[in-house]
């Protein structure tokens, strides 16, 4: 059980700081449980006291007194009170500890993710990583809240009741427990069966939801092609599978609670039946006999409670173990390597890529022997078909990935000799698909420099040509951007991210131009913003626009990971190679 050990390690790590609280909770649980088990004995004594009183009252000459009854009643009240006080105190401590420690787990997971490599994020779907927060941590929290605490308290209760029963009457104790091994076996096999059925149910539900999602997202196409009926027909089998799988899953998972209630009833019947028979046939004193039955009726009910509780938490516990393991898997993935200690200063000479080789997967090289030499304040346009490796160059300059061969130098120093933070402070990027966060516009622009004043933010926005647009919004720079809204068009998002980059004033700029769905007006704004951001900076631009390419100091044409042409526009046109063909093809106006 390596997985179990890993999960236990994980829980121990986060719970260790709370050992005092846990100890406190354990002591109060023990005390409370003790009182809880003890109380029924007083209830029994009370009944027995009443019986004695009654018998004495009808026996001439005997002294009838309720003294014993009162004593027992007071004892019962005190012990019930103590039991609830103990359980409340430990419960409060536990709920505090579980929410605090899960909060720390949440934060720990987030902090851990901040240190992972880009390779990790590129090779794992966001949705899957996100489910660590939404589903796995939730499962852990649920288990912490109920299961972990309950295993302890219910376990104590269970053992305590057995002990008490044995002390009271061996025979009756055995009678009370006789059914339980059978009940546990049945319960566990049902839990197991339910888990398998639920897996099938989840699989079927996942398939169905996937189908629904895809079809409805493409509803416009379905309508345009007149495929509604076909879509309903294909829906049928998915729906049927869910129906069948869920009927079984629901049956088995829903069976546990009524079955355990049923067993509890059966057990109680056995206890009452056998107890009464025992009292009558063993010539037991009536007062003692009635009290025995009263006590064991209560114990029988209490005894079954932990059994049903413990079987019920088997599933949440499994989920929590899986969750803890998934989170631990993330911890074990490699972190970003900081590299050397050198601090990157302002760029003085330039950036040189020499004989760079790179592959995301060893079998599929992406860049082969790529050499590019950029002098300070020059602009290089990277041009080439999709998949030629343009974006990869960008990934390497910012050290999102490390090279397989060759080297990239910043003022003569290889990138990996720099402290990563200092390097990234010098390098700014503008992505093709701009990222906008659910914050105010001001916070979005000041993302890389949270301490920036409003004046600085406005200045950056002006240079990025988006100030006017922002001012046209009712709340101006304080406008909240929310994830789904369409406040910004694709082009405006790019302007926003240009402003964000301008504010941090990087020495080296990497810019991936947005392509699709940019209208003419915005296109011109982007053009101007790009000129502003590139002025006096050294820049690599993954270029899609002709205008951008034409204004480059140097054009590098990439194809299949190799540099096939390099030079100024005029030189490349004169070469009549790939670039010139590309150029004339874009100009199909005449």
């Amino acid at each position: 059980m390596n997985k179990l050990k890993q999960a236990v390690d994980y829980f121990v790590r986060y719970l260790k700081p709370y050992w005092k609280g846990l100890l406190f909770a354990a002591v109060f649980t023990l005390a409370g449980t003790y009182a809880q088990i003890k109380a029924p004995l007083y209830l029994g004594d009370a009944v027995s006291g009443l019986t004695k009183y009654l018998t004495a009252s009808f026996t001439p000459g005997a002294h009838a007194s309720l003294q014993d009854f009162y004593k027992a009643l007071v004892g019962m009240v005190i012990f019930y009170l103590l039991s609830e006080i103990g359980l409340v105190l430990s419960g409060l401590v536990i709920s505090r500890i579980s929410s605090d420690s899960v909060g720390e787990m949440r934060l720990g997971l987030f902090a851990n993710l901040q240190r992972k490599t880009i390779r990790y994020f590129d090779s794992h779907q966001d949705g899957k990583i996100l489910s660590l927060f939404t589903s796995d941590l939730d499962n852990v929290f649920n288990a912490m809240n109920s299961a972990v605490f309950q295993i302890f308290s219910q376990g104590v209760l269970f053992l305590g009741i057995i002990w008490m029963m044995l002390e009271k009457s061996l025979t009756m104790a055995l009678v009370t427990m006789a059914l339980s091994p059978f009940a546990v076996i049945v319960a566990l096999s049902i839990v197991n069966k339910a888990r398998k059925q639920i897996e099938r149910q989840q699989q079927a539900t996942g398939d169905l939801n996937g189908y629904i999602n895809e079809q409805l997202s493409g509803q416009a196409v379905l309508l345009a092609e007149g495929r509604q009926q076909a879509s309903v027909e294909a829906f049928g089998p998915f729906n049927e599978e869910v129906r069948k799988a869920s009927q079984k899953g629901q049956f088995f998972s829903g069976l546990l609670s009524p079955l355990m209630q049923g067993f509890s009833l059966l057990n109680l019947a056995i206890v009452i039946f056998f107890g009464s028979w025992l009292v009558l046939h063993n010539g037991m004193d009536k007062a003692a006999g009635l009290s025995l039955i009263v006590v064991f009726v209560t114990y029988s009910q209490q005894y079954f409670q932990p059994i049903s509780q413990l079987t019920a938490i088997y599933n949440p516990l499994q989920l929590a173990i899986t969750g803890a393991n998934r989170i631990r898997d993330v911890e074990e993935k490699p972190n970003e390597v900081n590299g050397g200690k050198k601090q990157a200063g302002p760029l003085k000479e330039g950036v040189v890529l020499s004989h760079v080789d790179f592959a995301y997967q060893p079998a599929r090289p992406i860049l082969k022997d790529v050499s590019i030499d950029v002098k300070k304040e020059q602009m290089v346009a990277l041009v080439g078909p999709t998949g030629s490796g343009k974006t990869t160059v960008m990934n390497l300059l910012n050290r999102f990935y490390d090279l397989n061969g060759g080297k990239i130098t910043y003022d003569g120093t290889p990138l990996q000799d720099f402290d990563l933070t200092s390097l990234r402070n010098r390098v700014g990027i503008v992505l093709q698909e701009s990222v906008v966060f659910s914050k105010s516009i001001r916070e979005n622009i000041a993302f890389g420099k949270p301490e920036a004043s409003l004046e600085e933010v406005k200045e950056a926005a002006k240079q990025a040509n988006i100030h006017d647009f922002i001012m046209s919004l009712p709340d101006g720079y304080d406008t909240k951007v929310t994830g789904a809204d369409n406040l910004f068009s694709t082009g405006q998002k790019q302007l926003l991210s240009i402003a964000r980059t301008i504010l941090t004033n990087p020495d080296l700029l990497i810019l991936d131009e947005a392509t699709a769905n940019v209208d003419t007006v915005t296109e011109e704004r982007i053009q101007a913003a790009m000129e502003n951001v590139m002025r006096d900076r050294t820049s690599f631009v993954i270029a899609h626009r002709l205008k951008t390419i034409l204004s480059a100091d140097q054009i590098v044409v990439l194809k299949d990971g190799q540099v096939i042409e390099k030079g100024s526009h005029a030189q490349l046109i004169a070469e009549k190679g790939f670039y010139s063909e590309l150029y004339y093809n874009q100009m199909v106006f005449d």
């Binding site: 009654l54 949440r106 092609e225 019947a269």
Partner: protein
Amino acid sequence: MGLLITYAKPYWKKITVAVVAVTLMAFSTLAQPQFLEKMMSAIIQNQSDVILKNGAFLLGLALLGILAGITGTYFASQVSQGVAADIRLAEYEKIQSFSLEQVQSYSSANLVVRLTNDINQVQQLVMQSLQMVLRVPILFIGAIVLAIWTLPSLWWVVLLMIVLIVLSSKRIFAMMGRYFGKIQHLIDQNNTLAQENLAGVRVVKSFNQQGQEEQNFAENTAQLTAVNTKIGYLFNLMFPIFMLISYAAIASALLFISTSIKEAPDQLAKITPFITYLNQILMALLMLGMISTFASRGFVSLKRIAAVMGEETAQANEEGQVAIEKDAFLTKELVVDGLTFTYPKAEEAVLKDLSFTLAAGQTLGIVGSTGSGKSTLALLLARLYQAEKGQVLVDGQAIEDIAESDWHQAVGIVMQKPVLFSGTIEKNLRMGNPEASQADLEAAVSAAQAADFVFTYPDGLEHEISERSANLSGGQKQRLSLARALVKKPRLLILDDATSALDARSEKRVQEVLEKDFGQTTKVIIAEKIASIIHADRILVLDEGRIVGSGSHQELLEESSFYQEIYQSQKGKEGDHE
């Protein structure tokens, strides 16, 4: 509610069995203390035969309870999942009869939730109802009646206990309710922070903002933890408070019995059954609380589903519509007359009184800035939207009057955002024309310039497209959705910025093929780049929903300053560099 009844009706037999089983289980629970009382009296009176007889009853009753429990669960799951599947199918059918406007007014993401999450809630509601809704009232009322019947003088203990528990749980639930609202909001925020951090991981790293991000996340998490703790506290207080109330009831019952035990000695045997009933009342109250949360969620979902089911949809009414053979479709002209369209909730019309005529077989280009109404026009021409005013006529016939199936066979549209479905390429291509031959498919693939990559797959057209077309690039998706429209050999082809992700050379080839092999087809091409429509027979320039220019490329260059501006901005200043 009416919806639920309609869909539950076919299951009435199974529902009856489930309800009977659950009722039996409730009765066996209630009857047990009665037998206990008889047994205790029998002990006092030394009646061995009574004990044997009642003991056998007791055991039989418990076994019946177990059996009823299993049966009840079985039929409850059959019914609840059956009803859920039936409603889901009906709802899906309903949605498939929606117009595009209806789908968009809900948004497809919202409809997905109504088909998945809401159905689940309703399923839970049905399941819980069958398992508990009858059982709990029976248990609750039964236990009260039996408790009072057992010891009538103690009626006030029963009543007081119920009142106290209801009052205290109301108070606690009210406090919890407030925190639940808060926690949902905080969890959403927490997820958003994590999600945006993941989506923007490159930005975060390149701006060195990991620390700041962590701090923001920590602040939110601290709030979340605080509220979680409070809810935990309340939960932990609730149960002990209930238990204390019931213990107090037991203690006062005992005390009052002791004062009158001499007058009514039979009370002695009744103490334990009475206590058991008090416990059953407590349990029933707890279950009642649970049901009410389930039920309120379930009813909200039911309402959301009912809203979808209650939408009015245009019946597929082919009567009174004209059937048109594909070859006879659009042989003369396409006329757009006074077309006006406003989006729901929008203040201003997106298309304003648009009119133009296009002769069959001609190519119409449409350019204009974002928001000029180009895509809306495409959807109106494809009959996916209905005009608010004005009409579209094909050979003099209003498009609404043409039989829907004939229409879809004759018209192809390629939308701005290419959508493909998971499954083989072939399956996708055949969507609009299931009878297409293998040769037709291959021809369409080459025409859309997709042959380059499709036929490098070892399995060619059999190649599987994965979910969300994750294994295709933007350009590949566009090519395949273009091919899908071409497989139909449409009489009218509408392209909405459908070649934007293609490189210039491929785009030029697509234009050539459309010109050569689809000469009979009337084409409407919407584009951002003038290069895409430069050879069109006629070009419309749209601005804010109106036609501001119309003519050939040359004519527009001479006449329309708006068009010139666009052209210049795209052309680049090649003169400076040559």
